[in-house]
Symmetry: C2
Subunit: 274 residues, 2 copies
């Protein structure tokens, strides 16, 4: 396989990867992110996502990762430039990998253009993340939303960078089937989306199971941070507050578990009607 060895931490390309692996700002500035693992690399290939580079861990290579790297390099060009394969020194690879003991493959993928808030997005179902800071939760939320049929994900400025490698990793390729809008405060969301704004709020409102009709038409499900829950700004734009009736002695659900319950209750109701 035609590939470029990188063995030095002072290599410019490595230095850029390192920045992107650590900083949301660098992701936006450079216009790309890193996705780790065989599963994500295959999902990116299936979704025909522009891959700029494939990064293999030099000491961890096997036939499966080599074949996949070769196939991606053969098929993919970004702005007329053929995708390159790099063999990266093991220790340097670990420095930029979002997981320990991974499969030894990462891809450098172009971020999509910032989506224009067109009419299709306006009338979509939306998952709105209000300050969800944990990368693992944010990724699981994207994965769950897309699996439930909700493909537009919007997030406030306080939410984790949704293109961060750790979020990519935990979403397991769901990014490639989603429209992602970042840096949207609740008041702006209200102007972008026509759907009914539903606040998942453990502190009150209506029982999600007992309440009828909230699933009709497009919805904008709003989920808040662990601990504080939804911000006042989010509650202000809510058309309805809904809670999940959990056991009385227990306190709350993890935000990703709560979203799974809400988004799949929506899906259940809609499937039932068909």
């Amino acid at each position: 396989m035609l590939a470029i060895d990188i063995t030095s931490a002072s290599n410019d390309r490595f230095k850029t990867w390192k920045k992107v692996s650590a900083s949301p700002r660098a992701i936006r500035k450079e216009g790309f992110t890193l996705a780790e693992g065989l599963h994500l690399a295959m999902a990116a290939r299936d979704a025909r996502v522009p891959v700029r580079a494939v990064i293999l861990k030099a000491g961890r290579r096997d036939a499966e990762t080599d074949d996949l790297a070769q196939a991606i390099a053969d098929e993919s060009t970004v702005q007329g430039v053929q995708t390159k394969v790099f063999f990266l020194d093991d220790q340097l690879f670990e420095e930029i990998s979002p997981v320990e003991h991974g499969a030894g493959i990462m891809i450098e993928i172009d971020l999509p253009e910032k989506p224009a808030a067109d009419d299709r997005i306006r009338k979509s179902d939306v998952l709105y993340l209000d300050g969800v800071q944990d990368a693992g939760n944010a990724g699981t939320l994207i994965r769950t939303a897309v699996a439930s049929g909700v493909r537009v994900i919007a997030a406030s400025r306080k939410t984790a960078s949704l293109w961060a490698p750790k979020v990519m990793r935990s979403a397991m390729g769901a990014h490639f089937g989603a429209v992602i809008l970042e840096g949207i405060e609740p008041s702006e969301a209200k102007t972008l989306f026509d759907g009914r704004f539903l606040a998942a709020d453990a502190r009150g409102g209506h029982d999600i199971y007992a309440e009828e009709g909230w699933e009709k038409g497009p919805t904008v499900w709003m989920m808040g941070a662990e601990g504080p829950g939804l911000s006042d700004a989010a509650l202000e734009v809510a058309d309805e507050r809904l809670y999940i009736p959990i056991e009385s002695e227990t306190e709350s659900l993890n935000v990703a578990a709560a979203a799974a319950v809400c988004l799949f209750e929506q899906r259940r109701r809609r499937l039932r009607v068909r």
Copy 2:
């Protein structure tokens, strides 16, 4: 506050904490685990869990953690021995903490006696974890189960140690309201629990929403590892396989999200009947 300073990595108590923080085997051998954070410390206090020691990060102390440490020390004895408070050097604290930048408080708690498989447990609803290795997922699963009213958690040998500090942290105190049975293979589970064994299986079976009646009587919901899903041994003891109807282009749900959907669909059906 009466407290003992620990500043050396060669302190025996610290060395034991370090072992317990890193090794499930050490947890079982020593008979205790570490729970990090204000929330867990408060939950343990509310649940009257035996706390052997409170560990404060020496350089991170504030009035809230100090007061809580003092209150736990005043109230708690384990086998006649008064609970001690320790001020632990910052760097040593970080070495044993399951999170970075935490609140600077950990508690050393006695593991409960291994629960006897009595008649009450036999007739309970159960969540059975078949090889779930990720500690964050395992903790979220316990939290979700307890919130859904399922208080018995059983796990195969390949599942993460459910008393590991990272699992404790992610379950947010749900351990204290649960009965936890570890090292139970599927065939043994079948002899311990009377409930109907339900396999959450993305590969087939019946649609969880369309299928009627599975929620009646006690159930044993079985959830498999990310990737491979349920083992053959688990599928063999299943009375029924159920799948969540996700969007066709998407592949699967995170195991903790899938469990949230299944356990709360069970809860919804049972609440509806009342």
